[in-house]
Symmetry: C2
Subunit: 330 residues, 2 copies
C-alpha cells in the first residue's frame, strides 16, 4: 500500500502538502495540487483510517450489539442502523450477544479497545450499572429497554403494546385469554406481561394466566401443548404470545390438534416479523417498526458522537396492531 510519503516523493513535495490536498485544508497551488493528485492516482493511494484514527481519536465505526442476527426481528433493526450509519460514512461492527451478559461485556471490551465511536445495545439484560461502568464515557444508545440513566434510548411502549394486544382479543369476542410470555429476565417480556394483566383486569372476570417461555417457536409450541394436555388447567379461547415466533409455535400446535384458529382459538403475536403475513392463518400481531427504530437509534448515536449533549433523549415508538386472520371469527 502506498503511503502519503510515497505520494509526496513521487510528486516532489512534502507530506504536509499532500495532506493538505487530501483534506483540502490550507493553501495549495493549483499546479502542485495537480501533481499531487496525479501521484495519488498512479500509486492508487488510499489514506489509512487507522493512522487517521490514531491522531484524531475517531474511527468512524460504531458497534451494534444485538442478541442474534438470525432471529427474525433483528435484521430489520440492523438494516436500519447500517443504512443510517453508512449514509454518514460510518461502519457498523456486528456483535451477537445471544442475550448473554458476559458476551455483551466481551464485545464491549473489544469495541472499546478498537476505539469505536459509539455503541448501540439492543435488548441488553445486563445490570445497567455494569454497563455504564464498562462503557465509561463512550456514547451509546440502548434499544428495546425501557430505562436508561445515561445515553439515549429507543424503545416501544411494551406495556401499551401488551395491553392493546389483549384488548383486541376481548374486542373480537374472546373471553379467556392466556399469555405466553418471553423469559422474564427480559425487560420487554415483563412489560408486555404487565400490559396483558392490565387489560385482563379491565376487560375480564378471569384472572391472568401467564406461562413463561423463551421467545422461540418451540417454546410457544410446547407451552400450548402442555396446557392443552393438563386437564387441571383452565380452559382458554385465545392466546397472546409475547412474540411472533412463539405465536407461530402456537399456530403449529393448534393445527396439529385440529383446533380451528380464529374460530375456536384467537392468536395474536408481537413484533410483526415479515413471516407473520405468510402463516396459516395469517397472524394478527403488534408490529414494531424495527427498521425505523434502528435508523433512529443510529441517528441519535451519531449526533451524540458529533456533539455530545447532556440532554437524554428517550424515543418511544408505538407498536401498531395489525389485524389479520388469526383473530377473526368467520
Amino acid at each position: 500500500m502506498a503511503t502519503i510519503k510515497d505520494v509526496a516523493s513521487k510528486a516532489g513535495v512534502a507530506v504536509s502538502t499532500v495532506s493538505r490536498v487530501i483534506n483540502s485544508s490550507g493553501y495549495v497551488g493549483e499546479e502542485t495540487k495537480k501533481r499531487v493528485l496525479n501521484a495519488m492516482k498512479e500509486l492508487r493511494f488510499r489514506p489509512s483510517h487507522i493512522a487517521r484514527g490514531l491522531v484524531s481519536g475517531k474511527t468512524y465505526t460504531i458497534g451494534l450489539i444485538i442478541p442474534d442476527i438470525a432471529n427474525p426481528f433483528f435484521p430489520e433493526i440492523a438494516r436500519g442502523v447500517e443504512d443510517e450509519a453508512i449514509k454518514n460514512n460510518f461502519n457498523v461492527i456486528l456483535c451477537n450477544s445471544d442475550w448473554k451478559i458476559d458476551r455483551e461485556k466481551m464485545y464491549l471490551s473489544l469495541l472499546l479497545e478498537k476505539w469505536c465511536d459509539g455503541v448501540i445495545i439492543v435488548g441488553s439484560r445486563s445490570e445497567e450499572i455494569d454497563l455504564l461502568r464498562t462503557l465509561g464515557d463512550l456514547p451509546f444508545v440502548s434499544m428495546d429497554r425501557d430505562i436508561s440513566s445515561a445515553g439515549h434510548s429507543v424503545w416501544v411502549d411494551n406495556v401499551l403494546g401488551g395491553y392493546t394486544a389483549t384488548k383486541h382479543l376481548y374486542s373480537m369476542g374472546y373471553r379467556h385469554v392466556i399469555h405466553i410470555s418471553g423469559p422474564l429476565n427480559a425487560p420487554s417480556a415483563v412489560a408486555r406481561r404487565k400490559g396483558y394483566e392490565l387489560a385482563v383486569k379491565e376487560f375480564a372476570l378471569q384472572s391472568p394466566v401467564v406461562v413463561e417461555s423463551d421467545y422461540r417457536k418451540s417454546g410457544g409450541f410446547t407451552a400450548v401443548m402442555s396446557i392443552l394436555d393438563d386437564s387441571s388447567k383452565e380452559r382458554f379461547d385465545a392466546v397472546f404470545a409475547g412474540n411472533d415466533l412463539m405465536a407461530i409455535g402456537v399456530l403449529h400446535a393448534a393445527n396439529d390438534r385440529g383446533i380451528c384458529i380464529g374460530e375456536e382459538l384467537g392468536v395474536i403475536g408481537y413484533d410483526g416479523i415479515p413471516e407473520s403475513e405468510d402463516t396459516f392463518p395469517s397472524l394478527t400481531t403488534m408490529f414494531q417498526p424495527g427498521y425505523e427504530m434502528g435508523r433512529r437509534a443510529c441517528e441519535l448515536l451519531l449526533s451524540e458522537i458529533a456533539t455530545p449533549s447532556s440532554r437524554l433523549i428517550k424515543e418511544v415508538f408505538k407498536a401498531e396492531l395489525k389485524i389479520r386472520k388469526s383473530t377473526k371469527r368467520s
Copy 2:
C-alpha cells in the same frame, strides 16, 4: 483513556516493560509484573487496537459484504461468519450492498482504508476483474458465486440444486413444470435455471418455460398471476421458484385463486429459510446450509489471513431437498 505510558509511570517502569507484560513476551520480573498489573487495573487500561494496528498492519477486523441483511437467507450466513470470527477474536463489519455494484465498490474502498484484514463477499454481481482490481492483494472469500480466479470461494451447486428440485416435481407426478427464476444477472439464478432446463430435457416432453423475476415475494406473486391470466400461455401443474421468497408469493397467488397447492399445483422453493416451515402448506424447498457456509467461508478467510497460500480452495456445498407438503398429492 489511560495509555501504556500512564501505566508505566504509575508502576515506575518503562513502557517497554509494560508492553512485555501485556503481550507476555520477553522477560519480566515477578515483582515488576505485579506492579504493572496493578497499575493497569487501577487505571482501567485498555490497549489500543488502533495503535497496535498501525504498527502491525493487522486490525483483527474483517468485512462482510452481503446484499441485504433483512433478506431472510442472509442472517444465517452472517451469523455463521460472525461466530467463527469472534471465536478467533476477529470482528465483522456489516455491509449491505443491495446487489448494487457501486455500493460494493464503495464498501470495498472503505474496508481497504480501514485496513481490515480480509473480506467475504456474498452474491456479488460485479465483474470479477473489477473486484480483483480494487481488492488488490487483500485476502477474500467469495460466496454464492460459482467462479473465482483468485481467493477462495464457497458456494452450493446451484445447477445440481435446480436439477434436483425439478426432478423431484416430476417424481411426484407433476408433468408441466415451469420455472420462476431470479434476476438473470445473478449467477445463482442462471445456474438454477440451467439445472431446471437439464431436468426438463431429461424427464419431460415439454420445453422449458422460464419467467424471470426478482427473488422477492411480490415478484413470485405477480409472475404466477400473469401466467394464470394469460390464456395464450401453456398450462402448468407445478412451479419451481428460484428462491423461497418467490415460492411464498406463488403460494399466496394460488391461495387467492383457490388453487389447491399440492393437489392441483406443486410448488418448490430454494434456500430453506426458516419461514418455509410455517407457510401454508409447508413449503418443499432446496435447503442451503447458510450458517455452515458462512462459518466455513470465515474459516477459510482467517486461515488465509494467518498464512497466505497460493492454493485456491473451492468449497462446494449441496442443497438438500426438504420434502414438505407443497409438493404432495394427498
